[in-house]
């Protein structure tokens, strides 16, 4: 075995310029958690303005100018950066970059990713993109403030958009390199005997996700190039003829179309929704199978539903555009495909719910988060149906209802699943379990305050309160009946912030003082638990494992133990 040669690597090779998928996974993980915190802090500042409009923000008010009041342009900037950071620098890198990198090669019994150098390049490109985004706070122009969707014509004139586009190019490059690597790894490096239908569902989810990233991100890149041309070279890709800005007809050739941007943008951004949710479903499946001590119900339907979901996600994008006047025929097509895509989501969620049936569930911290994911994602998904139908979307479009809907999918949905993953795989990464007591102290308040933030958004949205309002609806007569919720939501948000402190403490505390465990503390069947904890640098396994059975052989009648790892040979 050649692994001993790697032990002498100097510190910077081992932990900084590393090509080991586990180190890169951890780099992704810590960077992404940092960005999640940053994105969340931005929102906590914005929530002050919404709860107590035009009063000085406490503590950090001095940074916001002489008055300490969050001004409208700063509010818009924080909104853009909250969305951008949370999606592109927080959730996706954590779900795909961190968990995908660390867990996928282990679960398929590979020594590393197929292209280790590309993997490192992907991380560093992501980090540069993140730094560019953060740096935009310190430029004279300030960060982008034309909405995280960057709709033209506004985005062509607003300052700060150029640096946002440059940051996006780095982030897009990073996901491209990463996803090519994931697909190649999963197709090529599966251990002997690990046929497609023996793959853990998490690997399937990552595979579909990677395909979405490979095919959906390039159109956004082309859109970013076009917008950059509009800003820098004076083209009119997104500027119609006769556009009037500040009372004067704009001196450009015109002839472009703002709708073109929306098509290109949503062609990425809708599959992106499934990039956000599929890895989460994968993590939840692993945790549920393990803690119900039963095989996943309907493994094959899960797999086919995920693949179908991935395919359909490419032909639903214009349901974000019902109000653009693109025509009823187009709307009819896209609302039909949107209704169809809800079927595989429901199949996946139902299969996971049915998996719970009749199980004697172990309620440990990862399982609590995974269980909370199911109804939370369910609320997020079901509230999406009225938005997918043109007629009801006309009323709900751009209200807080939309904000509530997609945050239920991503925040108490995906982020809870990511927490479940962290608690579940932490012993693999460190050889120690995270503290259960502190974990529950993290879970319960998080669960309550998440709902405290997002549930009232449905109430406000149904009353017609628009999103992105600096004053939270103070000047809109129709909002007056639901304004009291603003303070409630804000306080929930700040308390949610407080509830994350036990988690941060737990991550570092348990590295030193967590309960020491062997390589398979959860009595799990999948391959990552046959490797040492943490797995060996650069090679993972002492020997490449051989796979003899399906992924979830839990509680098979007649066997001594209630789990049979995939590596156990079948008896003659």
């Amino acid at each position: 075995m050649s692994s001993h040669t790697h032990h002498d690597e100097p510190f910077y090779r081992k932990y900084i310029w590393s090509t080991d998928h586990k180190i890169i996974g951890l780099q992704y993980g810590f960077t992404a958690l940092f960005f999640l915190l940053v994105g969340f802090v931005l929102m906590m500042i914005m929530r002050w303005q919404l709860a107590y409009p035009e009063t000085p923000v406490p503590i950090i008010g001095g940074l916001l100018g002489d008055t300490g009041i969050l001004l409208p342009e700063t509010y818009n900037a924080l909104g853009v950066m909250h969305g951008t950071i949370m999606i592109f620098l927080g959730v996706v890198p954590l779900a795909v970059g961190a968990f995908g990198n660390y867990i996928v090669p282990l679960q398929i019994g590979a020594p590393d990713m197929a292209f280790p150098k590309l993997n490192a390049a992907s991380y560093w490109s992501y980090l540069v993109g993140g730094i560019v985004m953060l740096a935009s706070f310190f430029t004279p122009e300030g960060p982008a403030r034309a909405g995280w969707t960057g709709y033209p014509p506004l985005s062509v004139f607003e300052p700060g958009q150029t640096i946002w586009l440059i940051g996006m190019v780095f982030i897009i490059t990073s996901s491209l390199l990463g996803s090519i690597n994931f697909i190649t790894t999963i197709v090529q490096l599966r251990a002997p005997g690990l046929s497609w239908m023996r793959l853990p569902f998490f690997v399937w989810a990552q595979l579909v996700t990677a395909f979405l990233l490979v095919l959906a991100f390039p159109p956004l890149e082309s859109a970013a190039v076009l917008q950059l041309m509009d800003r820098v070279a004076g083209t009119s890709f997104f500027l119609p003829s006769g556009l009037v800005v500040s009372g004067e007809i704009l001196n450009v050739s015109g002839g472009g179309s703002p709708l073109l941007w929306q098509h290109l943008f949503w062609f990425l951004a809708h599959p992106e929704v499934y990039v956000l949710i599929l890895p989460a479903m994968g993590i939840v499946s692993e945790v549920i199978a393990n803690n119900t001590r039963k095989p996943l119900w309907g493994y094959k339907s899960l797999v086919f539903a995920a693949v179908f979901l991935g395919f359909m996600s490419f032909i639903v994008w214009a349901h974000h555009m019902f109000l653009t006047g693109m025509g009823t025929a187009m709307s009819a097509f896209f609302q039909t495909t949107t209704m169809i895509i809800s079927i595989p989501s429901v199949i996946i969620l139902s299969a996971l719910f049915i998996s719970l049936w009749g199980a004697s569930i172990r309620f440990n911290t990862p399982m609590l988060f995974a269980l909370a994911f199911l109804p939370m994602f369910g609320i997020g998904g079901l509230t999406g149906l009225p938005l997918g139908i043109g007629a009801s979307d006309i009323y709900l479009h751009d209200t807080y209802y939309v904000i509530g809907h997609f945050h239920y999918v991503v925040a108490p949905g995906t982020i809870f699943a990511l927490f479940a993953g962290i608690y579940y795989w932490y012993p693999k990464m460190t050889g120690r379990k995270m503290s259960e007591a502190i974990g529950k102290l993290h879970f319960w308040p998080s669960f309550i305050f998440m709902n405290g933030i997002f549930m009232p958004m449905f109430i406000q949205g149904l009353a017609g309160v628009s999103r992105r309002l600096w004053d939270g609806g103070l000047e809109s007569a129709h909002a007056s009946g639901v304004l009291q919720w603003n303070e409630f939501m804000s306080i929930s948000a700040w308390l949610l912030g407080l509830a994350q402190l036990p988690f941060i403490f737990n991550v570092f505390y348990s590295m030193k003082f967590g309960e020491k465990v062997d390589e398979n503390p959860w009595d799990s069947t999948t391959l990552e638990w046959t490797a040492p904890s943490p797995p060996l640098p650069h090679v993972n396994f002492d020997n490449i494992p051989e796979v003899h059975r399906e992924a979830y052989e839990y509680s098979v009648p007649g066997r001594k133990r209630d789990f049979t790892p995939q590596t156990v040979p079948k008896k003659g």
Binding site: P111, P218, T235, S253, G255
Partner: protein, 198 residues
């Protein structure tokens, strides 16, 4: 323990890793140029009747035809350089790789002449939507040519020493970059009629 299938093929997929990787990359490239082509269609339908055709009359069709022939030739020499390696003839490889690079260079020079002629006539990306998409598409294609040339040059001179240590992997590398090169060629085959002839 090395990463498996970096050189040899995996029997059930019939691929070595980099070959799958490059095809995935090319798929993403198809989507990138696909996005821009759909922008072209969108803008063409949005323009007044016949305007795109009229604006396109400014372009130099003979030069572009010449460039098309040059780029196709470079694809041929690219295949020949790979075939030479398969026949263990490193001398021929050097010749054909050099010719490929020469073709690419001539292509860029002609492109440069076309661009400067436009600028002399005060035609810029901001002139109208046709030239906006013309400069964006051909510019991005040119960047792909330049990127390809950097890799080709690496394989032509500094990277060639790998031929002595691991000839099979070196041949694979040439095959991989060849696939990319053919793709860039193919993009031009689409660009030429769409921008110059329609």
């Amino acid at each position: 323990m090395d990463i498996p299938y970096t050189v040899e093929e995996r029997s059930d997929t019939g691929l070595f890793n980099a070959k799958l990787g490059i095809w995935l990359f090319l798929a993403s490239e198809v989507m990138l140029f696909g996005g821009l082509f759909s922008a072209y269609i969108f803008l063409r339908f949005g323009a007044p009747d016949g305007a795109f055709h009229e604006w396109g009359q400014e372009l130099n069709i003979p030069l572009a035809t010449l460039n098309t022939l040059i780029l196709i030739s470079s694809s041929v020499t690219m295949v020949m350089s790979w075939a030479s390696l398969k026949l263990q003839d490193i001398k021929k490889y050097k010749l054909y790789m050099g010719l490929t690079l020469l073709c690419a260079l001539v292509f860029l020079v002609i492109k440069y002449l076309e661009y400067t002629a436009k600028f002399d006539h005060h035609i810029f990306p901001s002139t109208n939507t046709f030239f906006a998409i013309y400069f964006t598409l051909t510019g991005l294609h040119g960047l792909h040519i330049i990127g390809g040339m950097i890799v080709l040059f690496y394989l032509w001179i500094p990277g060639r020493k790998m031929w002595l240590s691991n000839s099979e992997q070196f041949t694979n590398r040439v095959e991989i970059v060849g696939l990319y090169w053919h793709f860039v060629d193919l993009v031009w085959i689409f660009l030429f009629p769409v921008l110059y002839l329609l």
